[in-house]
């Protein structure tokens, strides 16, 4: 170690350039450099394949649509002004409600499941997790169509319930908001369960036992220890569910009968129907900024940023 540290000739006959070595040394000793080193692949990659294309989109949002759906390169803020309108705010609100309810329900359904898996014998856990993801290796659209087959008026659920005599008239489920929620939760459940599980799994059983020894009842132990400790997982899960849910349009279209326009539909329509790409780009930018603030605010409060090396 000593010879190399001093930048002098090594003992063994290797000849290493001293400049390169001092960079490596600084990475090893300097915490900031280490951090930069670790994050650089991700940042560089995203710089090329995300930032630059995104900048193209930002520039696009300041252009205008030509008469044939082409782009006219003339800088203006018309698109953003167009967005300040009760119609678009209402659409934004609907999307927030749908995404919010989806998140809430994925937590309600996902938490017990994640807890169950975290409490299962260690060798069973990978299978149980895998079983949650397995349906995702069918196709998204087909899964939704399976639900349509179940929920439609002459569908499987109604036929089943009617044959059992539990209901006399078919339930009107398909093409309603309920159907949309069922579909959304179905699609997003793994995104909540997986992060929740990784958080819950780390909670030491001994901590709970200690609490029990000190006289805490099971529910209290859950409320004061388990639940707070699982917040990081819940936050991560909420981000992974809420934000894509905001932009989702396929499930509301297929399960809801395409009768409502959400933010996802709006943006998609701009690009693929109205062919007003500049306006679509502007709408996307606004959505992006909104959700970015939400995300950063949420994660900072939850203490993601607290893990600092002293």
């Amino acid at each position: 170690m000593s010879n190399l540290e001093h930048g002098g000739q090594p003992v063994v006959g290797m000849h290493l350039p001293t400049k390169k070595f001092s960079i490596l040394r600084s990475i090893r000793e300097n915490k900031r450099s280490q951090g930069l080193f670790l994050i650089s692949p991700a940042i560089l990659y995203l710089l090329v394949f995300l930032i630059i294309p995104s900048i193209l989109v930002i520039l696009l949002s300041f252009m205008t649509r030509g008469p044939y759906g082409n782009v006219v390169y003339r800088f203006n803020v018309d698109n953003y002004l167009r967005l300040i309108d009760s119609l678009y705010l209402r659409i934004l609100w609907f999307s927030l409600v749908v995404a919010g309810m989806t998140t809430v329900f994925t937590i309600l359904i996902g938490y017990p499941l994640a807890y169950y898996i975290a409490r299962s014998p260690v060798n069973q856990r990978p299978i149980l997790l895998f079983l949650i993801l397995l349906p995702f290796w069918t196709n998204f659209i087909i899964r939704i169509y399976a639900w349509i087959m179940i929920l439609r008026t002459e569908g499987l659920l109604n036929t089943f319930l009617q044959n059992l005599g539990l209901i006399h008239f078919p339930l009107d489920l398909l093409y309603t908001p309920t159907a949309v929620l069922i579909g959304m939760v179905y699609e997003f459940l793994p995104f909540m369960v997986l992060p929740l599980y990784t958080s819950l799994e780390k909670i030491e059983l001994s901590q709970l036992e200690a609490a029990a020894d000190l006289g805490a009842r099971p529910f209290r132990a859950f409320w004061r220890i388990t639940l707070p400790l699982s917040f990081p997982g819940m936050i991560a899960g909420s981000i992974l569910v809420f934000i894509p849910a905001m932009g989702m349009f396929v499930v509301p279209d297929l399960m809801g009968g395409a009768k409502t326009i959400l933010v996802g539909n709006l943006i998609r329509n701009q690009f693929l129907v109205a062919r007003d790409w500049p306006f679509g780009a502007a709408a996307s930018m606004l959505l992006l900024i909104l959700t970015l603030f939400f995300t950063l605010f949420y994660t900072r409060r939850a203490g993601f940023g607290e893990e600092l090396l002293v």
Partner: protein, 261 residues
């Protein structure tokens, strides 16, 4: 809650939730044997659609493409994402906030926008569209998901083990490889699994970055479904799920053998 086994009510709830997850899949599988082409009502039992699948060149090509893209993008995204998670969770460096925000963008950017921007980008630099362009796109949206899952795992990670290892003479690399990585491995694997699934199932971004002859399974299925969800499509999905199930089974058997020896 001081018992080691999960309580009964919890088990029942879990079973119900698994039922919610799997009943549509079962329906899917059952209806792959339906004789009625438009698959609206059950008419009869047949293997016809499965036979059709095996001679469908487009489907076979699409499957191969999807797997290739998924495997490559998962490996690269997992490595990059894990490193990023470590960086964000344990270090402070200039540009931290900016890096964190950048990492989250693929999660929140609407897929249509990401797809179109990548298409425009690739055409600007005259990069021909094909399997490579799709893979590059998939890596881009997978990295943040891996990072998020690994970060959740890292939160509250007890560093004293690492410090102990270093005190005993191990350098950073060895410590990472033999202490840190195994401990966060469940998170890394969960992240990798997520990335793999996202890649296999992606439609919108793949649509915009695909070129002639590089159709993936979701693209193929989507176009098949435009006409109607014929039993052929169900059959495809069923085969997929079954093959994964079988692989899982093999994996389990192998593991059992390992623990025994």
């Amino acid at each position: 809650m001081s018992e080691k086994k999960p309580a009964l009510w919890l088990r029942i709830t879990a079973i119900l939730i698994y039922a919610y997850i799997y009943i549509p899949i079962l329906i899917l599988m059952i209806f792959s044997f339906n004789t009625q082409k438009l698959n609206v009502r059950w008419e009869g039992f047949t293997f016809h659609w499965y036979a059709q699948l095996f001679s469908d060149q487009e489907v076979i090509l699409a499957t191969r493409n999807s797997l290739t893209i998924a495997i490559f993008s998962t490996i690269i995204a997992t490595i990059i994402g894990t490193l990023a998670a470590l960086a964000l969770q344990r270090y402070r460096f200039p540009g931290y906030t900016l890096s964190e925000s950048t990492l989250y963008i693929p999660v929140i950017i609407p897929e249509v926008v990401m797809g179109i921007s990548l298409l425009a980008f690739f055409s600007l630099i005259k990069f021909s569209l094909g399997l490579t362009s799709i893979t590059l796109a998939h890596i881009a949206f997978s990295i943040p998901f891996v990072a998020l899952v690994v970060r959740a795992r890292l939160h509250g990670f007890d560093k004293s083990i690492e410090e102990a290892a270093m005190d005993l003479g191990a350098n950073e690399l060895v410590t990472f490889w033999r202490v840190t990585l195994p401990t966060i491995m469940p998170g890394v694997l969960a992240g990798a699994l997520l990335a793999f699934t996202l890649s296999l199932d992606d439609y919108v971004i793949t649509y915009f970055t695909a070129g002639p002859g590089s159709t993936t399974l979701p693209l193929r299925i989507f176009s098949m479904v435009r006409f109607a969800v014929t039993p052929k499509v169900n059959a495809l999905s069923t085969l997929w799920v079954l093959s994964v199930f079988i692989l899982l089974g093999i994996g389990q058997i192998v593991q059992r053998r390992q623990t025994r020896t």
